[in-house]
C-alpha cells in the first residue's frame, strides 16, 4: 500500500516512518508537517493509506478529512484516546493508534487497513448516528456527555475547539463549528458568523450587526444577516 504521513511533529513522523519500514507491504511516498501541503499532494497523487495526526495547529485531522472528496483509508495517530468515538463517524477511518505506537499494535492496524472495505466502515458510522438520536453527545475527558439540544443557546469556535453554551453549563469540545452545525436542526439553529452558531429561539434582541443572546453579544456577519432576518417573525 502506498501511504503518506501527516503530522506536525517531526519526532512522530520519524517514528511512523520507522514502523512503516518494518512492514513489507507499506511504501511511504511522502511526509507532511501540515494538512494543506498534503491536500495539494493528494490533488495530484493517489495514495492507499494516510497516517493522520488529529492534533495539528490551524487545521485538525478531522478538518482535513472533511476536505477530501474521495478519501483513502486513514489511520489516525494521536496522543489522546478521547477522539475514538468521533473517529467512527468517518467511513474512511480504519483504525486509531494512540501514541507512543508499538510495532505489534501498528501491525494490527495495517492488517485491518488491508482487510477493511469501505462498506464495513459505513455501518460503523450509522451505529453512532442511531445512538445519538435527538440528543447531542459530546466527548469530554473520555466521557460522553448528553446535552439536550434545545438547551444550547450559543456555540462559539475557538481554534481547534468549540464552546457549547447551554442553559446550565458551558462545555469546551475538540471539534469544529461545521461538524456540530451538521448535527443541529436547521429549524432552531443558525450560523450568523464564521465563528458563531446561535439558537434563534433564545435571541433577546438584535442591534445593527450584533445579537444579544442571554448575556452574550454575538456579531452577525453581513453575509449571514439576510438569513437571520428571514427567520424572524417581524411585525
Amino acid at each position: 500500500m502506498n501511504c503518506i504521513i501527516i503530522d506536525d511533529e517531526t519526532t512522530a513522523r520519524v517514528i511512523i516512518n520507522q514502523l512503516c519500514s518494518q512492514i513489507e507491504s507499506l511504501n511511504v511516498l511522502a511526509e507532511f508537517s501540515n494538512a494543506m501541503e498534503a491536500i495539494k499532494y493528494l490533488n495530484q497523487n493517489e495514495v492507499d493509506l494516510i497516517f493522520l495526526d488529529i492534533h495539528m495547529p490551524d487545521f485538525t485531522g478531522f478538518d482535513f478529512i472533511q476536505t477530501l472528496k474521495n478519501p483513502p483509508k486513514i489511520i489516525l495517530t494521536t496522543s489522546d484516546s478521547k477522539f475514538a468515538i468521533e473517529a467512527f463517524e468517518y467511513d474512511c477511518i480504519v483504525d486509531y493508534l494512540v501514541k507512543p505506537i508499538l510495532l505489534p499494535r501498528f501491525e494490527k492496524a495495517i492488517i485491518k487497513a488491508e482487510n477493511t472495505s469501505a462498506k464495513a466502515t459505513v455501518n460503523a458510522s450509522d451505529e453512532v448516528e442511531t445512538i445519538s438520536g435527538n440528543d447531542l453527545y459530546i466527548n469530554i475527558d473520555r466521557r460522553l456527555i448528553k446535552i439536550d439540544i434545545p438547551s444550547i443557546y450559543l456555540i462559539e469556535a475557538k481554534g481547534d475547539y468549540i464552546n457549547v453554551k447551554t442553559e446550565d453549563k458551558n462545555y469546551t469540545v475538540h471539534s469544529t463549528l461545521k461538524k456540530i452545525e451538521d448535527k443541529l436542526p436547521d429549524s432552531i439553529f443558525l450560523k450568523i458568523h464564521r465563528s458563531y452558531i446561535i439558537n434563534v429561539q433564545k435571541i433577546i434582541d438584535i442591534e445593527d450587526n450584533s445579537v444579544l443572546i442571554k448575556k452574550d453579544v454575538v456579531p452577525v456577519s453581513r453575509s449571514n444577516r439576510p438569513e437571520l432576518m428571514k427567520r424572524l417573525n417581524l411585525l
Binding site: T10, V14, I15, P100, L102, L103, D160
Partner: protein, 105 residues
Amino acid sequence: MEQPNQSYIKSLSAGNIEFEKKLIAVIKSEFPVEKETYLENLAAKKYIETAENVHKLKHKISILGLEKSYGVAAQYENDLREENTALKGNFETILQTITDYLITL
C-alpha cells in the same frame, strides 16, 4: 521521581543504531523549542495554546518512558483548558528532568 529511559526507542529500532541516533537528534532539536513555546504561552496566559503545547510535549514524555509523568501531563493539559495551572510546578519539574537527560545523550 522517575527517570527517562530509551526502552521505547530501543524497541522501535530493532537494533538499528542509525535510527536511534536520528530519533534522539530530532527529539533534542524539537523538545527545547516546544518547551520554550509552552513557557511563552503560559506567561501570556494563552491557556488553550498552552494546553496544545503540553499535548505535544506529552508525546515526548511517553517516548522517554515516563509513564507517571505522562499522567501528570495529561491531567495538566485538561486543567489548562479550564485555566487551572495547579500542576504547573510538577509539569515543569518533568520538563527539567527531560532537559537534563537529553544533555547526557
